[in-house]
């Protein structure tokens, strides 16, 4: 068997490129400020300093963490439910009314979210929701729908029609078919959508930037950004903030990796 030298070389080089910045963040977050100024930047400090993490936690980090968790939950739960029900309807109904509905959601994949920030800002102000966490959930749900519906619909199309017909014979309603038959079968797709959208929500920067104002309403990415301004001279503290803000999502990745990866590729590969 001949070896794939070109792919292999790039593969390992890329691994290095991926890990080097992460390694740098990790070791720097564990350096005291004097070690940071006095030691080689790419070597870990022999004495681990946890003071940076304490400093971050004392700087209202828990508020931002809680905000991020609330926004992620408030976005993902309604999003998955709505996307599942809409997917069920668009896949199961052969009525021509649903053809434009399908196209509309597909079109949604091509809308640059960025371009809608002015009207969304206006909408949120008029709804008297500016500077609230709910303001971050609403557009997050709406723009998460197209991809979620695409992924869930793909999974639903693979469910054999005979299963539905068998339930028809038993006299089941659409509601029962949706929850008892379709829901358990497409659960992996639902988990995929949930994990992926949680990631999107967790790392969202633009909506928090334009829809909130007070420090109490900051989510982690925005908090990191302002943190960087305040602690510009204390890089180890900023790196500790980067580490702490990423831990929850890395944990999610460890638990839901299979779903995230398979879903991402299924959603875009089909």
């Amino acid at each position: 068997m001949k070896r794939n030298w070109i792919g292999g070389t790039f593969g390992w080089l890329w691994l290095l490129a991926v890990l080097l910045p992460l390694y740098f963040v990790a070791i720097t977050s564990l350096k005291s400020i004097s070690t940071y100024f006095g030691s080689n930047p790419v070597l870990p400090s022999p004495q681990l300093a946890f003071e940076n993490f304490t400093a971050v936690l004392e700087a209202d980090f828990t508020t931002y963490l809680l905000n991020s968790v609330l926004v992620a939950l408030g976005t993902v739960v309604p999003l998955v439910l709505m996307a599942f029900m809409a997917s069920y309807a668009t896949v199961r109904s052969r009525h021509r009314l649903f053809r434009p509905v399908r196209s509309l959601f597909l079109l949604g994949l091509a809308i640059p979210v960025q371009a809608t920030i002015v009207p969304i800002y206006l909408l949120i102000i008029r709804m008297h929701m500016y500077d609230s966490l709910a303001a971050l959930m609403l557009p997050g749900i709406a723009f998460g729908l197209p991809l979620s519906i695409l992924i869930i619909s793909n999974a639903l199309r693979d469910v054999p029609g005979e299963l539905f017909e068998a339930m028809d014979i038993d006299g089941c309603t659409e509601w029962q078919k949706m929850w008892r038959l379709a829901f358990p079968i497409v659960r992996p797709a639902l988990v995929t959508v949930a994990v992926y959208q949680a990631l999107m929500s967790w790392n969202g920067f633009l909506f928090p930037l334009i829809l909130t104002q007070s420090p109490d309403m900051r989510t982690l990415p925005l908090a990191l950004w302002s943190f960087q301004g305040e602690y510009a001279t204390n890089v180890p503290v900023v790196m500790a903030a980067v580490v702490l803000s990423s831990i929850p999502i890395v944990l999610l990745y460890i638990v839901g990796r299979r779903y995230l990866v398979s879903g991402m590729t299924a959603g875009s590969g089909k």
Binding site: K2, N4, G7, F10, W14, V18, L19, L20, P21, T28, P41, V42, A86, Y88, A89, S93, R94, F98, L104, G108, A110, I111, P112, V113, Q114, A115, T116, V118, P119, I120, Y121, L122, P139, F143, I149, T173, W175, M178, F205, L206, L209, L220, P221, L222, L224, V235, M239, S245, S246, I249, V250, Y253, R257, V261, S262, M264, T265, A266, G269, K270
Partner: protein, 300 residues
């Protein structure tokens, strides 16, 4: 009408289906489609973000189209799209093909490759900012003096920096797409090629690459539309600077609207972005044409 006697129950509209679709549809109409239409409407108004919204006809459009920053922003975003594609696509295909191998260590590599996708753009921007520090970053850490540059202060270097960081952030995603696609190519095609005496490189160009055509279109569409709206990293890292050298159109739109309080002009710029986004997406799909759906059915 369209009622065929073969399957009449298929054609009937069920109330339950309508009700199931209603919440998502309503949400999508209010918070995605309405803003999309709203941005067109707002582009014919003047609004400072706080006071009354006044209909002013083409004033905002005239302003948007006469500003030099608009045209530069447009040019820069096109540069961003082309450079991103040229940099990321070959690497993603190469890495995706490599990762598609069945060896166990490649699975581990895939897990690690994914890590940048987990980080927020602001975390990534902040990380690279400290890596680029001339005294306490990579340059002095690795003893490589050529890395000691004023990375964010030079209008050429800053572009290299942005392209590299954005590649670091997004290549993993496209790599995964390609990895999945390569794994779907039937092994029998490679076996047949091996019997015919085709080497690795030959197999890559005559089997792998043609089979990836549909994936290439999907990945390119996502990449191109994504590049059109890159915002976070540039915002955190350069705010458009030095000077206006990285003030790409989406950033220009944000700064015009939310810093310059010219929401009407910002809306006109947003309309340009939407049209550009749809045009590019359709254009990439068109490039793929009918062959795309053909290779899709073959692959499945």
């Amino acid at each position: 009408m369209t009622t065929t006697p073969a399957a009449p129950h298929r054609e009937r509209l069920q109330l339950s289906h309508l009700l199931f679709a209603a919440p998502a549809l309503l949400f999508f109409l209010i918070f995605a489609i309405l803003p999309l239409l709203g941005v067109v409407a707002l582009s014919f108004t003047s609004w400072n973000g706080i006071g009354a919204i006044e209909f002013t006809g083409l004033t905002s459009w005239t302003e948007a189209l006469s500003r030099e920053t608009t045209w530069r922003g447009l040019l820069l975003v096109l540069l961003m799209i082309v450079a991103t594609w040229v940099l990321q696509t070959p690497l993603s295909i190469l890495l995706g093909t490599f990762l598609a191998g069945q060896q166990r260590y490649r699975g581990v590599l895939a897990v690690l490759y994914f890590l940048p996708l987990l980080l927020s753009s602001s975390a990534i921007a902040i990380t690279f900012k400290s890596l680029m520090d001339p005294n306490f970053g990579l340059a002095s850490g690795l003893g490589l003096p050529f890395l000691k540059q004023n990375w964010l202060g030079d209008s050429t270097l800053v572009w290299i920096v942005l392209l590299v960081i954005i590649a670091w952030q997004f290549i993993p995603f496209h790599t995964l797409i390609y990895q999945g696609a390569v794994r779907q190519i039937p092994q029998s095609m490679y076996e047949a090629a091996q019997i015919d005496g085709a080497g690795r490189v030959r197999q890559f160009f005559s089997i792998t690459l043609p089979q990836l055509k549909y994936t290439l279109i999907t990945s390119s569409t996502l990449m191109v539309v994504g590049a059109l709206t890159y915002f976070d990293i540039i915002f955190v890292l350069t705010q458009g600077g030095p000077g206006v050298s990285t003030r790409i159109l989406p950033l220009d739109m944000y700064l015009t609207g939310f810093r310059g309080n010219e929401m009407g002009v910002a809306s006109a710029l947003a309309v340009i972005l939407v049209v550009l986004g749809l045009g590019l997406a359709l254009g990439v799909q068109r490039l793929g044409g009918k062959d795309a759906s053909a290779s899709q059915t073959e692959g499945a």
